[in-house]
Symmetry: C2
Amino acid sequence: TPDILAIANQKGGVGKTTTAINLAAALVEAGRSVLIIDLDPQGNASTGLGITQELRQKTTYDVLIDGSPLAAAIQTTGIEGLTVAPASRDLTSADIELITRDRRLTLLKSAIATFVTTAPPSDYVLIDCPPSLNLLTLNALVAARGLLVPLQCEFFALEGLSQLLMTVREVRRTANSGLRLTGVVLTMHDSRTRLTQQVEQDARTTLGDLVFQTVIPRNVRLSEAPSYAMPVLQHDSASKGSAAYRALAQELMAADRDP
Amino acid sequence: TPDILAIANQKGGVGKTTTAINLAAALVEAGRSVLIIDLDPQGNASTGLGITQELRQKTTYDVLIDGSPLAAAIQTTGIEGLTVAPASRDLTSADIELITRDRRLTLLKSAIATFVTTAPPSDYVLIDCPPSLNLLTLNALVAARGLLVPLQCEFFALEGLSQLLMTVREVRRTANSGLRLTGVVLTMHDSRTRLTQQVEQDARTTLGDLVFQTVIPRNVRLSEAPSYAMPVLQHDSASKGSAAYRALAQELMAADRDP
Ligand SMILES: Nc1ncnc2c1ncn2[C@@H]1O[C@H](COP(=O)(O)OP(=O)(O)OP(=O)(O)O)[C@@H](O)[C@H]1O
Ligand SMILES: Nc1ncnc2c1ncn2[C@@H]1O[C@H](COP(=O)(O)OP(=O)(O)OP(=O)(O)O)[C@@H](O)[C@H]1O
Ligand SMILES: [Mg+2]
Ligand SMILES: [Mg+2]
């Protein structure tokens, strides 16, 4: 069965989508197959891979709200081995629509479970979450085996981490005992600034080995790539952003070998 | 009565909190009095002004959920003329808790209306919103007379704007006919990058005069200031960040004079 990772952090703009897209591309380059599930109503992961609003037939909204099979929402990207279940703007009201449902926390988990029995599963499933600890993110945490937390090297970044980790503990206790924290990855790392050094020191002191050795540097190529509807590995393979996500993929695959 | 502005954009990390804190400080420096209402469960605006979790007595959660008077939640900051109603982590579940309430969209509006009859009102009320179009942001849009949208100079930034503007139209139609778009302010502007030039050109072409002339440059002083629990105007008055927010305050006050 696939390694299902939620990429979550309720702090906004920390690099969740950038990590989902580029880590996926690096895993595929290393020979793995990857499905990205876009749970963010903004649909940035879908757009960043060239799947514009008009191209989206079935979306993750249909999967969660109407019970459409996940397989019907999955589309190919221009990259062999990388597929996406795109988001829909309608996900904005998912919280309100799901609140009265019985199994509102396990809708995604069941959709993935059905999918892996009917189709050849991918090696990895990466779930891009919205910047909120809402029912969409909770669905991802219940469906996932691991949580990958992008942590921006900024002052506000550490503030929300304890609430996220408390939510993970709660999910593990009540709905998904197998959920573990796969790791925290430092993003927009700029070693010239005092702030980056402070956040990195704080994170490594508090979280130790849970923080990946690989850091993702601030790199304009990463923010340009989505405007070309491709990961940075395809947009500029020689960039620092590409090198960093390749290193992250290697670290993740090594961790999977000896958990 | 005060000019009530919601600072909102469901895209995460675009500078909502940074704008709330520093625009408030610049308005106060120009002789106005300002109340910041922190509606984000992360509470970054509260922390960025020195009001840590431990210092928070009554919060905006108590105001919305328990009907506590807004006046009871308001605290002073180290800056004369600048007050804050801090957030609480419990706001994370506000959506779920408010969903069954009758007047769930007008709770903040009524709380502010009561407050201004009992206390000397501020000149401005700035409402810092979470990165989501949830009931918290909707409460801000219903209570506000204007909406200030920070727009990051990045590719994903424009993608969510149309959904935000549609939400504003819907709120104006159903719950707050006086709501207008005060303006869009370009943030983390770096004129050296092609991406910034593209986003600025797109925004000014599409939105015209709705985009403030003032742009907020990417400036490390802005991201450092919260770690000193003060606005950038106090942390480094001579910085580009301080100059930009002073200019934005001037532009906003001029617009208020001849709407
Ligand atoms: N390492 C980096 N260097 C430079 N820019 C980056 C980097 N990582 C992300 N970005 C840019 O920063 C912005 C925020 O990143 P991204 O959208 O991936 O964050 P997010 O956590 O998914 O945001 P949201 O909370 O809105 O979902 C984007 O415009 C992205 O292109
Ligand atoms: N002009 C700027 N130059 C440099 N850094 C900035 C600037 N504006 C904001 N920042 C930094 O970028 C990060 C995101 O800004 P901020 O937290 O204000 O955004 P936000 O929209 O409030 O985020 P959220 O969606 O999580 O509420 C913060 O760490 C902040 O210090
Ligand atoms: Mg995202
Ligand atoms: Mg904020």
